[in-house]
Each structure stands twice: as structure tokens, then as C-alpha cells.
């Protein structure tokens, strides 16, 4: 294959990625968009086997096949054997951390590519090439280690609360300065050792950068690291003279940046506050001291009676519902109430679950009709006419502290205003606070009734109690 054809195939793949992102932005075309993207990526990968990219400073490449051909095939097979089952078997509830992990390995791959290219560049490298290589190593490493930390936070392998230690901001700032300093050293001194030091420092910076981010903000950080990885791919494209990598990487970098901003808006967070929380956060005790306060807990029968005489019920599902795998039971309850003539809607917070849109995916899995899912702006004005709001395994997204307590970590986040409903039922496993680690005053409200236990078991009991009425 000649270089023109190869470049044209690369361009075609670039167009496929644009169509993929465009398709993914609309519910009807989303799945097709993803398939177009996968097709583009496959074609691009196959084309590399048919055209040898010249090494640095050469006009033409060697003849086919590629050097190390079988090693390359073997490595791809290993990647397939690891990646495909992981993606197919993961529970939908654990999907956010899988996306984080995939993003991390992508960043790691970009960093490794840059390191090898750096070792290969030799003396003919232009300063621009060295700078782009260094950029890829730094950002790729940050994306890698940062994503691993977000993975551990979401998987609850470590605390989901912001990790802040005394003098932390100075350590982070110091690491950043060191990264920049060593980058200059690499560009001027061109050695393997400085590069290695740079990689290690960048990995460290990635860890320090994500540690102070609180649980609720983790999706925003994943999205940002995703955009970062995109930019590293674009920078590698420059060094490897690959138009395809430049287009694909830049697209992801740009769309990822916009997406990060959209997500931050949906969560009512300032992007700046989220990212530089590291520099401003103070070590903080869990707000609301854990004194024993009376709560009103009820039985499944109490809940069923309340529901039976309601005219309008809004179900607010949260991550706890997904953990208990109670999507199907909640649909059963909703169907039962509808058959009794009760007006039922699901109030979906934009970040219900662990990521924007996560809850929609989970409920769609349980065949909940799409038209029963109401977005926050739609459902909030109706809580005044709602007799019962059932909050299932959610906490932070209905916490009025977000509106009333300046200074609390979720202050300013838009919430589902269930506090305006006539009755509130919380299905909870325990009094443990939500992902953001903040006490919820609503639990102590006199119009709130708590039903403790596993969400699925509790809902099953409510369903049979309601059937018996």
C-alpha cells in the first residue's frame, strides 16, 4: 500500500470518529455511532499492517511485513483476552470504574509509545518533537495514575472521601514544579535518566492530583483525564507523523473538555473548584456530629398504606438501588401502583448512580418505560403536588444541605426537592451518610419515614403488602 492510500484510510477513520461522536450525542443514533467508531478504529488498525511508517529521518519504510510482526499480533491477542471479557462481564453498576480503568490504560499506552519514540528519536529530533514527546509522557502518566486512583475510589478499595493531609497543597505544588523543571531538563539534556525521573514524578503527580477529589466529583475527573489522554494521543500523532492520531486525539481532547464542563454544570460544581480543590481543601471532619437523634422508622405495611392512598408518587432511585439489584422490583412496585390508578414517575437526578446518565442505563436494563423517567428540571416543580416521594438508596442528590448550608461539600449542587413532597420515604440500609459523606437533615424531618434494610428485600415486602391491601 502506498503512503497516499494509507493517509486516506487514516482520514476515513478520522471521519468515522467524528460521526461516532455525533451519533453518540443523540439517543436514537448512539448505538450506531459507537459501531461506526469501532469500525473506524478497526480499519485504522488493519491499515498499519499494510503500510510501513518510515523511521525517523528516512524517506521510505522497509518492506512488509512489519518488524516484530508476530510479537505485535501476540500482544494484541493478549489485550483482547483481557479487555473483551472485562467489558462483557462487568456489572452495570461497576461500569464507571471500568471506564476509568480503560482510560488509565489508554493514557499509559500513550506514555509508553512516547517513551519508546523518545529512545528512538536520537540526535535528529527537532525541539518541537522532543517537547511533544515530553508532553505525552507527562500527561499520559498523570492520566494513568490518576485514573487508577479514581478506579480505586469508585471500587471502594480506598476511601471515597477527599484525602487531604497537612501541607498537602505544598506537596502537590512542589511536585508540579518538579515535573515542569525536569521537563525542561529532558528537553535540554536529552537523556534516558531524566525521562525516567520525569515519568515517575508525573505518576506521583497524578496520584496527588486525584486524592483530594471527593467521591461525588470523581466522574468529572474521569472525564477530564479522558480529555487529557486524547491530547496525548494527538501529541503522539505529531511525533509519529500520523494524521489519524492527531485527528482522533484532538477530537477526544476537545469533546472531552466540553463534556467535562457539561457534567460539572449538571452537578452544579465549579470545574475550577473541583480541580483545584487540592489547593484549597482543608482537612474536614464529617459534618453533623454523630449524636443520636430520633428518626421515624416504619414497616413495609406502613409504607404500603401510605402508597395506597396516594395520588401521585415520585420514585427517586439512587446508587443503593443498583447495588441491591432492585431495579426489577422497583418496576414491579411502579406497575402495581399504576394499576391502582396512582400517578407514578421516576425522578432522575443527572448524576444519580455514579456518573451522569448511569441511572438511566440501569433502569433501562430493567425495562422501565422511558416516558416514566423524568429529569430533574421536569420533576422538581411537581413535588409540591406529590403525596409520597420514595427515595431508594439515594442520599446526596436529595440532601437539602446543598441549598441551605454554604460551605458543605455539595453546596450548590442541584438536588431533587423531595422535601416539598407531603411524605418522604427513605429506603436505606443504615444511617450511613452518602457517597459525599455528608449528614442528611431530611432523615430527621417529621414527615420522613425510614424503612431500613436491603432495598430489594424491603421493596419486595412493600409490593406484597400493597397487593394485600
Amino acid at each position: 500500500m502506498n503512503s497516499t492510500l494509507y493517509s486516506l484510510i487514516g482520514l476515513g477513520a478520522g471521519v468515522a470518529f467524528i460521526l461516532a461522536l455525533k451519533g453518540l450525542s443523540h439517543p436514537k443514533t448512539a448505538r450506531r455511532g459507537n459501531l461506526i467508531g469501532a469500525f473506524g478504529a478497526t480499519v485504522a488498525t488493519l491499515s498499519v499492517f499494510l503500510y510501513v511508517t518510515p523511521t525517523h529521518g528516512q524517506e521510505v519504510g522497509h518492506s512488509l511485513p512489519l518488524n516484530n510482526f508476530w510479537w505485535i499480533i501476540g500482544a494484541i491477542l493478549i489485550g483482547l483476552v483481557i479487555g473483551v471479557p472485562a467489558a462483557r462481564k462487568v456489572e452495570m453498576t461497576q461500569m464507571p470504574q471500568l471506564v476509568a480503568l480503560f482510560n488509565g490504560v489508554g493514557g499509559g499506552a500513550a506514555a509508553l509509545v512516547a517513551i519508546v519514540e523518545y529512545l528512538n528519536l536520537g540526535a535528529e529530533a527537532t525541539t518541537a518533537e522532543v517537547i511533544f514527546t515530553v508532553f505525552t509522557v507527562v500527561v499520559g502518566c498523570v492520566s494513568f495514575s490518576g485514573s487508577i486512583i479514581t478506579f480505586m475510589k469508585l471500587q471502594e478499595l480506598m476511601t471515597t472521601r477527599p484525602v487531604v493531609f497537612p501541607g498537602g497543597r505544598f506537596v502537590i505544588a512542589g511536585t508540579l514544579v518538579a515535573v515542569l523543571g525536569v521537563s525542561v531538563w529532558v528537553v535540554t539534556a536529552l537523556g534516558t535518566t531524566p525521562l525516567l525521573v520525569l515519568a515517575v514524578l508525573s505518576l506521583l503527580f497524578g496520584v496527588l492530583f486525584v486524592l483530594p477529589v471527593g467521591g461525588a466529583d470523581v466522574p468529572i475527573v474521569i472525564s477530564l483525564l479522558n480529555a487529557f489522554t486524547g491530547l496525548t494521543v494527538a501529541a503522539s500523532g505529531y511525533v509519529l507523523s500520523s494524521t489519524l492520531l492527531i485527528i482522533a486525539g484532538t477530537l477526544v481532547g476537545a469533546s472531552g473538555t466540553i463534556l467535562t464542563r457539561l457534567m460539572a454544570e449538571a452537578m452544579g460544581r465549579s470545574l475550577f473548584g473541583t480541580l483545584f480543590g487540592a489547593f484549597t481543601a482543608k482537612p474536614q471532619e464529617a459534618s453533623g456530629t454523630a449524636e443520636e437523634r430520633p428518626v421515624r422508622s416504619g414497616s413495609a405495611d406502613d409504607v404500603a398504606i401510605l402508597l395506597n392512598y396516594a395520588r401521585r408518587v415520585v420514585i427517586v432511585p439512587g446508587f443503593g438501588l443498583a447495588v441491591a439489584q432492585a431495579q426489577h422490583t422497583v418496576r414491579e412496585l411502579a406497575d402495581l401502583m399504576i394499576s391502582k390508578g396512582i400517578d407514578v414517575a421516576y425522578g432522575i437526578h443527572p448524576v444519580a448512580g455514579r456518573m451522569p446518565g448511569h441511572m438511566n442505563v440501569l433502569l433501562a436494563e430493567a425495562n422501565v418505560p422511558y416516558d416514566q423517567l423524568a429529569e430533574m428540571d421536569e420533576v422538581n416543580p411537581t413535588f409540591g403536588q406529590t403525596d409520597v416521594a420514595i427515595v431508594i438508596g439515594a442520599n446526596d442528590v436529595v440532601n437539602p444541605a446543598a441549598q441551605t448550608t454554604p460551605g458543605c461539600p455539595i453546596y450548590g449542587m442541584p438536588i431533587l426537592e423531595v422535601n416539598h413532597a407531603a411524605n418522604i420515604i427513605f429506603l436505606k440500609r443504615s444511617m450511613r451518610p452518602g457517597f459525599a459523606g455528608i449528614e442528611n437533615e431530611l432523615l430527621y424531618d417529621p414527615k420522613t419515614m425510614l424503612l431500613f434494610g436491603d432495598a430489594k428485600a424491603s421493596l419486595t415486602k412493600v409490593v406484597s403488602a400493597l397487593k394485600a391491601l
Binding site: 512489519l66 505485535i72 494484541i76 479487555g83 461500569m95 500513550a110 509519529l240 477526544v252
Partner: protein, 99 residues
Amino acid sequence: MDAIAIISIFVLAVFVGFEVVSKVSSTLHTPLMSGANAIHGVILVGAIIVADHSQTNLELGLSLAAIILATINMVGGFVVTDRMLEMFKPKKSADKGGE
């Protein structure tokens, strides 16, 4: 490739990237992020190129590691995105709706 061509590609791609996702409902944020994530898995192309260029065992080892990671990113990314979207699609046509 000359610098102006590269800068042109870069700038235009930035605008296209901004434009295609500027109006997307929060429902699709997660699949979109996941799909974009899979797209940057094409770094696999770069990893294969450097594996071809590798002169030493160290370079080859690092490039093969890059190939493994990039394949996981790309293939896993597209598969998991498809799984998320699969849940949206058939219901809309097959389900009779709740009315």
C-alpha cells in the same frame, strides 16, 4: 508533515470536537464519555508503529506493553459502550410504552 498543515488539522479538529458534543442530554454523558474513551484507544496504531521501529529489547518490550494496554482501551471501550447503549435501544421500538 509541515507545521502549518498540522496546526490546521489540530485547530479544525478542536472545533469539530466542541461542536459535535455541545448539545447532549445528561442521559448520554456516560456512554459518550465511554465512547470517546474508546476512540483514544487508536493509540494502538502508534503503539504498533513504535513496535515496528524498535531496535532493542527494551524498546520492543515497552511497545508490546503499549499494544496490550491500547488494545484493552480500544476494544474494551467499544464493547462496554455498546453494552450500555444496548439497554436503551430495543425497548423504544419494542415496548408499547406505559400509557
